[in-house]
Amino acid sequence: MSAFAGSEANETFVLNLGPQHPATHGVLRVKLTMDGEYIVEAEPVLGYIHRMHEKMGENRTWAQFLPNTGRMDYLHALAYNHGYVSVVERAAGIAVPERAEYLRVITAELNRVSSHLLWFGAFILDLGGFSPLLYAFDDREHILDLLESVTGSRLTYCYFRFGGVYNDIDDNFVAGTQAFIKRLRGRMPMYHNLVTKNIILMTRLKEIGPISAEMCRKYGATGPVCRGSGINFDVRKHEPYSIYPEFDFDVPVYEQGDSMARYMVRMDEIEQSLRIIEQALDKLPEGPVMADKVPKILKPAKGDYYHAVETARGSFGVRVVSDGSNTPYRLKLRSPTFSNLSLFGEACRGMLLPDALALMGSLDLVIPEIDR
């Protein structure tokens, strides 16, 4: 990146990026103050698809809010379901059968792979390459088929229930998943040859959009954004939930903090997720997939409870405050991209427009999840 040539303040102009813009992946608006093609200041404007999920939670029973969680982040819906059912299980003291936890991990990790694949395609699309998007979609479609055969739905699965999962898997799913893992492992070198090693992509990502570890801390960035800045933080390892401690997997961490590092973290995570799925399929125990004694009307004890899960975008936390009734008294959804995007304004200062868009793409934004 070339240096930022400062000039008189009155030579700047305001550029409205969005709410309808190809690079913002939804309805995000960024108010850019520009000096030529350099960004002097960037202010993201949110709330275009704000749905007030938190208020909705207060007006529904605990179980009725479940479908909403998958609609926050439609790309990794199962992790959001997982976070919500986990916090309610914690509050109500429900124990989950082991097989159900395995199924949760398998499906959530498959969903994470699909989310990363879509991010990969969309990110390259931001950089102007179109074909990798459709190759990634080709692979993602296999995951959606697998998940559809289990959950009956392709995007907002709503598969987890308090105390287990909605229905059991069959042998076809196991065989199909194993075949898919083999297929995707075979395809990854193609992605790296076509995209990662491409000289144009390297010049566009290397040393572009640096985010320091300190900046991550000050803004509360989590997920691949902080792991690309050399912070080894993954909720699956940091505060292990479900049965993640049973599996052997690595947390990819890159020190550079540039867009390339975040790209590499996600690409490596695909491989790690495949490893988890493989181990889970091998170890999959027999047994029920639903706890026996789940009361029909949940009334968790008074108090507040927190549970965080690692989604494809970072640490998603749910804080519920229960007053002992059958509806949540207060439900706070801590969305990872909200924090990740909040550092964009500072990180892109002095950058060129195309680089800033590469940086924005590397943050992996899902707007419904920011706006909630």
């Binding site: 990146m1 070339s2 102009f13 550029l15 813009h21 190809p22 690079a23 520009m34 030529g36 093609e37 390259i124 699309l125 931001d126 950089l127 102007g128 390459g129 179109f130 074909s131 459709l134 190759y135 080709d138 076509l194 995209v195 491409n198 144009i200 992509l201 010049t203 566009r204 060129l352 427009l353 195309p354 680089d355 868009l357």
Partner: protein, 330 residues
Amino acid sequence: MHVDPEIIRLLAFLIGVIAFAALNAAYLVWLERKEAGHIQRRIGPKEVGPFGLLQPLVDGIKLMTKQLIVPAGVDPVLFRIAPILVMVPAIMSFVTIPFSETLVARNLDIGLLAIFAFASVNVLGLLLGAWGSRNKYAVISAARVVSQNVAYEIPMLVTVVTLVMITGTMNLHNIVMQQQGGFWHWNIFNFSASPLMPVAFLIFFVCMLAETNRAPFDMAEAESELVAGAFTEYSGMGFGVFFMGEYANIVIGASMATILFLGGWDCPFGLFPGVHWFLIKMYFLIFTVIWIRWTYPRTTFYGLLNLSWKILIPISFFNLILTSAMLKVF
């Protein structure tokens, strides 16, 4: 009444050239969509006509029936003149391109010069359209187009100068005639003049991509950054003419590469030279241009300038010096 047959010939050629340019523009869109489809493992247009062959027609009708929106506050003259400024020079360039030994509208002695002169007007059209449409994205795009063009004219022209030194003429017909008799006579393999001729071809090809604003150098359009760049405010046929101009420019670029480096209408094996060979080579190059577009991400503006000033210009100058030295020595 006596009519000069030359005038009739010229008229026929003019109509032919315009028809050729328009048809090319229409069917290159089809080719682009089909090729992109198959690269991405889908079919591409298929509903209108067999293999979607009538798709360009339908697209054309759609563009023509659309309202021509002239936004408030635009410069009315520049906004309207810009698409024409892109389209007309492209058609004019066709006049001097020799498709075969006899199939040429006007065989100019300075044909090469004329084409490069016309090619630079294209940028002016984009600049005026972008400036005139009073849109911030378009203005950014205009600034990009101009500096991109400055950066790319130099290595391209240096390469062409090298070639002119070898051929000793600017007459396109003569340049092709010198390359007759099989692919080992083509300029791209003219190792006796300079061992770097394939590299020179590559430089020329890259510069052609940049000149015609094709991916990975489509910074002017850059749909994921600048929405549609210079064309943001254009609708209907205003946009359509820009589009046609763009494809016509690609045809010119591919034709020039064919003539200068690939022996024009010459058959690679010395058999049956003719217009078909010219078209095969040209369309192969266009296929490659489209193939490149659907493979790479877009470069950035400074990446492009770096490539031009740090790599292409030094190498093309080195080639120039090497060639002149070799011409002098041998």
